[in-house]
């Protein structure tokens, strides 16, 4: 897989909102609970998970218990802050309106087959994308090349202004050439560094 590295000067997370909305792919070593993945593997403080990440979806289903819900190969995990609206309140973890969406609530699978190398997709929404997006981008994620083209096109001025360098497979590349190349491939490994 081809790799893209961007060195951006400041405040870049919002440019990638669309990418995090669609989701980025990450490798994971083994099946584990949402809490273990976020707090042990990624290093998110427990308090942040408990108080800030108020809305969690696994495979499109709202999760109430992050300790019990196990992430398996191919899982899609989406994280959001508390949301407005009746439905926003309803989707909260263990909120007092949770009964209103019981038909779609995530139920733990009792048997997750063990796996050596698995991949998951993680979606970050709203304030969580703002706060955790840089962490994931700095770590490196796999994203759709066409989504990256969309972002580079939509925020071309910002990238030209604030991106100190763009690298494709370790070599410096112009934005025009990067976009042209991205249009010919499916997936890239993306890393963004703020400096």
């Amino acid at each position: 897989m081809r790799s893209v590295s961007l060195h951006i000067q400041k405040d870049f997370y919002t440019l990638f909102a669309q990418i995090f909305s669609k989701g980025v792919d990450l490798p994971m070593e083994d099946n584990r609970s949402i809490r273990d993945f976020l707090c042990l593997d990624i290093g998110i403080p427990d308090a942040y998970l408990d108080h800030r990440i108020q809305t969690v979806f696994m495979n499109g289903r709202p999760v109430d218990d992050v300790r019990a819900a196990m992430i398996g190969d191919g899982a899609v995990l989406a994280l959001s802050a508390a949301m407005p609206g009746l439905v926003g309140a309803t989707l909260r973890r263990g909120g007092h309106l949770a009964a209103m969406r019981k038909e779609i609530t995530y139920e733990n699978s009792t048997s997750s087959p063990p796996a050596d190398a698995i991949r998951i997709r993680i979606k970050l929404f709203n304030l969580i994308a703002h706060e955790l997006g840089p962490v994931f981008l700095n770590h490196g994620v796999q994203v759709s090349a066409s989504d990256m083209v969309d972002v580079l096109t939509m925020f071309a001025k910002r990238f030209r202004q604030d991106c100190r360098s763009m690298e494709l497979d370790g070599g410096e590349v112009s934005m025009e050439n990067l976009v042209a190349t991205l249009k010919t491939i499916d997936q890239i490994h993306l890393r963004v560094v703020e400096n």
Partner: protein
């Protein structure tokens, strides 16, 4: 705010204004006042476009004060869209200015004897009603510019566009915002058509020379307001999420839950919704820049500032930041993922004066019928233009999803009591389906909002993770929402008062300090119940039965991908909602 202005547009010799005291309606404001007047004074069986119907415009209990978030205004009438009672509310400057002028309500009554348009000017010296047929078929934007030239830019306008003049059932009433743009609307239920039948094109409010309304206990009011604002600012929804992304922050989350109605409620997910999500739109607005781009209030005294200003690619003002429901209705529901096109549709809706939810749902139905292709943004824009021009097709579309579905032979019509559903599929979050079905207003996402039923203690405690509870929760939420609507507070305070008991108490303290009352949570609940009883009684007299408290059959029969679920709440359970 102790007087009611009545304008009888059918009087001999032209419209006549008279001012009276609150009388029987003493102590009521907002939805409680509009519904009480309609319930008592309008024959439930009347034609909504007849002279027997009335249009009531009422600010909230704390409007016109220094109290934060007190700028909602309620509009009531018998609805041309549903045939039942209607309360539709709006932000903008109208509530604050009308309240400072001392009016608890404006009531438009009767029917003009001739095809004449009127403008009503209200200031500290009184009311002046002028015939002005030059305003005919003006869009709201041109109309407001004309009023600005005549009365200056410090006034507030309440107006209708061409849709209201044509008496279309999706017609809205526009309220100007802080920049004096007609961007805030009482959208639902065709209230604009009722204003159109009264021949009133615009009401201009000028509060020059009027001060803020003064509380009975200024110190207590100030302290409570301070605590209330602190509560709003520290809560992640009202202090961070809404200001940063606006209501459209919901797009990604509802889509992820599989409850985002897509292509006329055929799917629960829109593949390209990330292109129109609140996060993406806020980033785009910040990139384009301009005053109030991604974070802006819709009226003075707003501390949440969930709105914004949408500038086009050339940096010119196009419309306010489109709300979540608008982005859904004209976006995912029609398969459109071009935010500039959606913003243009929002602008046209506001200019012609139509409800964005009803129009988006209607175009979705029309697309299913083959009138246009799903995803064709240009076609959608042209369809809305047909509404503004009043072509035969436009008049069909302007009468809403129900009429359009019948005309084009579509079975999948997402309406309850004739009103289009908002942006949440009831098969995903079934509790909201109970509210859609049973609300006195027709399908309405704000009829049973996430108000602090837990703190109010409405109906006791429901186990959040129990298999039961949909009906109980819907009932409790509808009661609590009716009460909040009556205060005139923005519903978005709901999150802070739901999670922070001290913020909820601060709200009660504000009301008590202002009026010298000693209201308790029980009193608030009783007010909500009273409002709902009045509305239910009106609807029963208008001919509604329990059979009207149902979702369309296809929600029970068609599985919604991706979770492949149907609506499962039984009719018998639904009939228990108003069992209080």
């Amino acid at each position: 705010m102790d007087k009611i202005l009545r304008i009888n547009v059918g009087s001999d010799g032209g419209p006549a204004a008279k001012t009276e005291t609150h009388g029987d309606y003493d102590g009521l404001a907002g939805r409680a006042l509009t519904s009480s007047i309609i319930g008592k004074e309008v024959p439930a069986s009347c034609h909504p476009l007849s002279g027997e119907n009335k249009l009531v415009i009422a600010p909230g209990m704390l409007s016109g004060t220094t109290g934060a978030m007190s700028g909602r205004i309620s509009v009531g009438c018998k609805s041309p869209l549903t045939g039942g009672i209607k309360e539709s509310n709006s932000g903008g400057q109208g509530a604050q200015v009308l309240a400072r002028l001392g009016y608890a309500a404006i009531v438009l009554e009767g029917k003009p004897k001739a095809e004449t348009l009127y403008k009503v000017f209200i200031n500290k010296d009184g009311v002046k009603i002028t015939e002005d047929n030059s305003l005919g078929m003006l869009g709201n934007y041109d109309l407001v510019e004309k009023m600005k030239a005549e009365y200056g830019d410090k006034v507030a306008c309440i107006s209708i566009g061409p849709a209201g003049e044509m008496k279309l059932s999706a017609a809205s009433i526009a309220f100007t915002d802080m920049e004096m743009r007609p961007t805030r609307h009482a959208g639902r239920g065709g209230v604009g058509a009722v204003m159109g039948t009264k021949g009133v094109k615009v009401i201009v409010l000028d509060d020059a020379g009027m001060g803020m309304r003064q509380p009975k206990d200024p110190d207590k009011f100030k302290a409570a307001n301070k605590k209330f604002v602190q509560g709003l600012r520290k809560h992640p929804v009202t202090g961070e999420g809404l200001p940063a992304y606006g209501t459209n922050v919901l797009t990604n989350v509802v889509n992820e839950a599989g409850g985002y109605p897509t292509k006329n409620f055929m799917w629960g997910r829109f593949d390209t919704c990330s292109k129109i999500s609140g996060e993406t739109v806020a980033a785009l607005e910040n990139e384009r820049g301009g005053d109030g781009s991604a974070t802006h209030g819709c009226h003075r005294g707003c501390v949440i500032r969930c709105s914004g200003t949408f500038y086009n690619k050339d940096g010119q003002f196009l419309t306010k930041q489109p709300e979540y429901e608008t982005v859904w209705a004209h976006g995912g529901n029609c398969g459109i993922d071009d935010i500039d096109a959606i913003a243009m549709l929002d602008r046209l809706d506001d200019d012609y004066g139509v409800d964005t939810i009803e129009m988006g749902a209607t175009i979705g139905v029309a697309m299913e019928a083959g009138v246009a292709e799903f995803g064709d943004a240009e076609a959608a824009i042209n369809l809305v233009k047909e509404v503004g021009q009043g072509t035969p097709l436009g008049r069909i579309l302007g009468n809403g999803a129900d009429v359009t579905g019948k005309v084009f032979g579509v079975e999948r019509i997402p309406t309850v009591k004739g009103q289009a559903m908002p942006a949440y599929d009831p098969r995903g979050v079934q509790g909201i389906g109970v509210t859609y079905a049973t609300s006195t207003m027709g399908a309405d996402h704000t009829a049973g909002y996430a108000v602090a039923t837990n703190l109010l203690g409405v109906g006791g405690t429901v186990d959040p993770l129990s298999a039961e509870g949909q009906v109980e929760l819907s009932r409790n939420l509808q009661i609590a929402t009716a009460a909040i609507d009556s205060t005139g507070m923005c519903l978005f305070i709901a999150f802070a008062i739901m999670d922070q008991e001290e913020t909820f108490q601060a709200l009660i303290d504000m009301i008590n300090a202002f009026y010298g009352l000693s209201l308790t949570a029980d009193d608030v609940v009783e007010l909500g119940k009273k409002v709902l009883r009045v509305e239910r009684d009106f609807n029963a007299r208008a001919g509604f039965t329990k059979e009207d408290d149902r979702l369309p059959d296809y929600f029970k029969n068609e599985e919604l991908p991706p979770h492949n679920i149907t609506f499962k709440v039984t009719d018998a359970d639904m009939d228990q909602v108003f069992n209080f």
